[in-house]
């Protein structure tokens, strides 16, 4: 492996640019696989991309990554909009692994037997 000369390059994911705002928008820490589902009516005065996201996840739940792809929005923007909606109670957010347990053998074993069952 080559060692870069000069200061180590650091490319910052774009979403970090909005980190301050995202954090300010609420306690929800959103991941690409956070699950979004509309919870209540769209608050008055919210239109545009907020409405699009809310309408997308009204019939059922989708992850942030899927919602971003369907709406052709950057993930960073989708995170921001979802946090905004969640903060106003219009969106339920669930973590990919409910109890935030780390990856453990039980989960990996369930994945393995699930994959084998697909054959």
């Amino acid at each position: 492996m080559t060692t870069p000369s000069g200061p180590r390059r650091r490319l910052v994911p774009a979403y970090l640019a909005t980190q301050g705002r995202t954090a300010a928008a609420g306690r929800h820490s959103l991941d690409r696989l956070s699950i979004l589902h509309a919870a209540a009516d769209l608050p008055a005065g919210l239109g545009g991309e907020h409405r699009q996201l809310w309408e997308l996840v009204r019939p059922g739940a989708l992850t942030v990554a899927e919602a971003a792809a369907h709406l052709r929005l950057p993930v960073s923007a989708t995170v921001f909009i979802a946090a905004d909606l969640a903060e106003r109670g219009a969106l339920k957010v669930r973590a990919p692994i409910p109890s935030a347990q780390p990856v453990n053998r039980d989960l990996a074993e369930r994945l393995l037997s699930g994959l084998r069952a697909l054959k």
Partner: protein, 192 residues
């Protein structure tokens, strides 16, 4: 299109490797939804100008992510596959994409095996367990896995398999090999 209403647990595996090796094909072979695509942008901070100048007219690098989804038969587990290019210069973004992933499958093309090194470096640096799947193309010379293992200088514990990214069964086998390897690497739970 929507997730099952059973509140499934979501898990993630990465599918990576050089351009044109079959990542998108692999994800498409297994996904139950039409594969989705996002472009993730890395803005350049402190990036040497000569790095930026490799992509003329751009001040940021874009990484394409193809992802697909697979609900496992019990319905309580949904697996996401994230297909991304495995270039070492994508490390910070890649680590962010891979956060929470159980492991990574590296697709390798024996006609340009050295291209797989970059992905191996990336994944080793990200600290994920991985498995290498050799993707066979029509003009691929006969594959001798032992020689490939030596050429890649693979750890003896790292699985190396053959796989046609266009065939679902082989793709499943690749994920099974990867998941077995992930399990091998996870510590045994101690009895309470």
């Amino acid at each position: 299109m929507y997730l099952p209403a059973t509140d499934p647990i979501l898990m993630k595996l990465m599918v990576t490797g050089p351009f044109g090796v079959g990542k998108t094909t692999f994800v498409r072979s297994l996904s139950e939804i039409p594969t989705l695509h996002t472009e993730e942008t890395m803005t350049a901070h402190g990036v040497p100008v000569d790095d930026i100048s490799r992509t003329p007219g751009k001040t940021a690098t874009t990484v394409a992510v193809d992802f697909g989804r697979l609900t496992l038969p019990a319905g309580d587990l949904v697996l996401y596959l994230f297909g991304t290019p495995g270039q070492r210069r994508f490390l910070p973004l890649w680590e962010d994409l891979a956060r929470g992933a159980l492991g990574a499958l590296i697709l390798a093309d024996t006609r340009r095996l050295a291209d797989a090194f970059d992905a191996m470096d990336l994944i080793e640096e990200a600290g994920l367990p991985y498995t290498v799947a050799v993707n066979r193309f029509p003009d691929t010379p006969p594959i001798e896995l032992d020689k490939i293992r030596a050429a890649l200088d693979l750890d003896p514990a790292t699985p190396l398999i053959e796989c046609d990214a266009r065939e679902r069964a082989g793709c499943l086998d690749a994920l099974i090999a990867l998941t077995e390897h992930v399990l091998d690497r996870l510590p045994q739970e101690t009895a309470p």
